[in-house]
């Protein structure tokens, strides 16, 4: 008998929970309306969530080249719309479809496929979980989180510089629970198409090329320190081809931690951080400028750089949160191209997760080769709402 040997009423409860969605995008309306017409269909109707984000932002760096430091006119932007469709396929597997409509142009934007994958949850030897499709790979901690779940508005510098919009690729993954007593330890290994790195911090779009596969893996352990506090530690690796024309390889290593102290239902403190180590061989930089040796001939270099972020987020009075983040990151291709920054953020969630408002101030100082360092201040006000079922938060 498969697990999740749910009794009938629990299964009914699950299917009824899926009816929570009351408003859906037009493309999905037919599905929901038809499901509501007949009771039988509701049992196969998936969970549908719609989460848009809007942003008002300003910064004082736009006229620095003219020698002027003044805040730009605050710009109201549509940031992104995320539509999640999720359900069990059968007693053994579930499927997730995440569609995104990126901003800022709400009308010209195209709905894209952020993630599309199936996960086999049970029935495999050694209690393996298998996932296949397009998904955010389990590399580090933040890469697995969608931006609407971050406590801050903008991505840490190390994430945007080394992973672009995230390590999100076609692939297949297997995960195994390692027997370490009462400590939860999971090993996940991914075989990926390798297009994510090339599309973001690699050299070229490989969509027309033969795939040059990438691999990632993560080992994570979860420690219960007390009734109120828990600690998760993770180590990840990721390797692939960043320059498909010269077949140049990169290696990423990543250490992550998350500590959470929750003394009551209304108060919690999260401390989280990651350090990413990068090394790659390259004959040219990200702008296709060849690396030259002392005699001016083309030469291959090994570039080792990295970056980190750490943040603290304090939830208080249930509906408020306040936090700060420190960033530091080099460029994947240049040790003398680096940036550091601080961000202070405030969150207000008046009715659980149905509505969120985040205010962030950030200062970022960038240092690029051959130019003076540049300091930019930015202020962002993000609003989001969440329509549809709200799953419990994973640690």
């Amino acid at each position: 008998m498969p697990a999740g040997n749910w009794t009938t009423s629990f299964a009914e409860e699950q299917s009824m929970r899926r009816l929570r969605t009351t408003l859906v995008p037009p493309a999905l309306a037919l599905l929901v309306l038809s499901a509501s017409d007949t009771g039988a269909q509701t049992t196969v109707n998936p969970d549908i969530s719609v989460i848009p984000r809007f942003l008002i932002t300003t910064n004082d760096g736009e006229r620095l080249a003219e020698g002027k430091r003044e805040f730009s006119r605050p710009d109201l932007q549509f940031e992104e719309l995320e539509i999640a469709i999720q359900s069990y396929l059968n007693p053994f597997a579930k499927a997730d479809v995440i569609l995104t409509l990126p901003g800022p142009d709400v009308e010209a934007g195209k709905l894209g496929l952020e993630e599309l994958y199936a996960t086999v949850l049970r029935g495999l030897p050694l209690d393996l979980n298998l996932r296949f499709g397009k998904y955010r790979a389990e590399f580090g901690k933040l890469n697995q989180m969608h931006p609407h779940a971050w406590p801050f508005v903008t991505a840490p510098l190390v994430e945007s510089r080394f992973l672009g919009d995230g390590l999100n690729d076609l692939g297949i993954s297997a995960s195994l629970l390692i027997p370490t007593g009462d400590v939860y330890t999971r090993l996940t290994v991914d075989l990926l198409r390798g297009s994510s790195i090339a599309g973001t911090t690699g050299l070229a779009d490989t969509s027309g090329e033969k795939p040059s596969y990438a691999n990632s893996a993560r080992l994570t352990s979860f420690f219960t320190l007390s009734d109120e506090s828990d600690l998760e530690l993770g180590i990840s690796g990721y390797t692939g081809i960043h320059d498909p024309y010269n077949h140049e390889r990169f290696w990423y290593g990543n250490l992550d931690f998350k500590y959470k102290y929750r003394p009551s239902s209304y108060t919690s403190l999260v401390l989280q951080g990651e350090y990413l180590y990068s090394t790659r061989s390259a004959k040219q930089d990200e702008h296709y400028a060849p690396f030259l040796d002392q005699s001016g001939r083309s030469a291959e270099r090994t570039i080792t750089t990295g970056g980190l972020y750490m943040y603290a987020d304090l939830q208080f009075m249930k509906i408020f949160s306040f936090g700060a983040r420190y960033d530091w990151a080099e460029s994947p291709y240049h040790t003398d191209d680096r940036a550091r920054g601080v961000a202070i953020f405030f969150g207000y969630y008046p009715v659980e997760e149905t509505l969120g408002i985040r205010l962030q101030y950030a200062n970022t100082i960038t240092q690029t080769p051959g130019s003076a360092s540049k300091s930019i201040n930015s202020i962002s006000l993000q609003t989001l709402f969440s329509l549809g079922p709200h799953k419990a938060h994973p640690f």
């Binding site: 008998m1 498969p2 697990a3 999740g4 040997n5 749910w6 009794t7 009938t8 009423s9 629990f10 009914e12 409860e13 699950q14 009824m16 929970r17 009816l19 929570r20 009351t22 579930k94 949850l121 049970r122 029935g123 209690d127 979980n129 629970l177 009462d182 400590v183 939860y184 999971r186 979860f222 219960t224 009734d227 828990d230 998760e232 929750r262 009551s264 239902s265 209304y266 009075m317 249930k318 509906i319 008046p350 009715v351 659980e352 149905t354 799953k391 419990a392 938060h393 994973p394 640690f395």
Partner: protein
């Protein structure tokens, strides 16, 4: 050879005294299971008595609890929306997930639900364990689940359950006697947790501190409740230990009502050591306030 003998000796005690591993969502389910299974089961739970069972973070440590369990007992009726994620994460292919609400006479089952009504449960109010008369059907479900794993122990499970239920019946009669003078009295509750409790004792829940289930109190709603308490001569505001006391305290300051922090789970207050002592505490505290 010595190694082989050693392994066999290590395995023998396990084989002789192997029992059922049961994980429950709430501590009162663990308490009831322990009464029924005695030493034939190891029993643990997930939600502490001072935690809100509606909102539980999905921790890998909970998945580890379920990984080697035989039975997972839940209240059901959407109380534990987080439970499926823990079950999936446990990778336990033989876990029997049991919904104890199956035969309960459910209250407040809505005909239509949407988010404008707050966090309304589609299958009705799930706080049925606060009516002690519901413990008997819950015990039947637990016995059935235990018997599936350990059929040879059914007579023991039934005998243990009956002994406990008889003890509980005596307490129910005692509690009903204590509360009989207060039948028809109005109380205010923070959340809709006390419907079964009030229904059992003939109390009337005149209003909730929350304007709608799960929605934080607003100043205008608090003012309405203050008016309601004053006009109805209401003496008690029932609040679970995990809710913010500021709004009920504000109501109490403006009226003659008293805020009563009453546990809905074992461990919610120090006096709630088990189900009977939890209910005893609730009954005696409420009776004292209503006098």
């Amino acid at each position: 050879m010595k190694l082989l003998i050693g392994i066999i000796l290590l395995c023998l005690p396990t084989a002789a005294f192997s029992n059922v591993k049961v994980i429950t969502t709430l501590p009162e389910l663990a308490d009831l299971t322990r009464r029924i299974a005695a030493d034939k089961a190891t029993v643990d739970y997930i939600v502490r008595g001072d935690q809100n069972p509606h909102f539980v973070e999905v921790k890998p440590s909970y998945m580890m609890k379920l990984k080697s369990a035989n039975i997972f007992l839940t209240i059901g009726m959407e109380l534990e929306m987080w439970a499926p994620q823990i079950v999936d994460g446990s990778r336990n292919s033989s876990l029997d997930v049991v919904d104890l609400s199956r035969t309960i006479q459910k209250l407040e089952v809505p005909s239509r639900v949407d988010a404008s009504q707050g966090d309304v449960h589609r299958f009705g109010n799930p706080h049925y364990w606060l009516d002690p008369r519901n413990i008997r059907p819950m015990a039947e479900e637990i016995i059935a689940a235990l018997v599936k794993v350990s059929p040879q122990d059914e007579p023991l499970f039934r005998a243990n359950a009956e002994a406990y239920l008889q003890q509980l019946d005596l307490k129910i009669a005692e509690w009903e006697k204590i509360m009989k003078p207060f039948a028809g009295k109005k109380v205010i509750s923070f959340h809709k947790s006390w419907s079964y409790f009030a229904n059992w004792l003939g109390l009337e829940i005149a209003g909730e501190v929350e304007p709608k289930p799960g929605i934080p109190p607003s100043p205008s709603h608090t003012a309405e409740i203050i008016q309601l308490v004053r006009s109805g001569g209401i003496k008690a505001i029932l609040v679970e230990p995990f809710y913010d006391l500021s709004p009920p305290d504000q109501i109490a300051r403006a009226t003659a009502a008293k805020v009563l922090v009453l546990p809905t789970s074992i461990g919610g207050v120090d006096q709630a050591k088990d189900y009977i002592s939890m209910m005893e505490y609730n009954i005696t505290t409420l009776a004292a306030a209503l006098k």
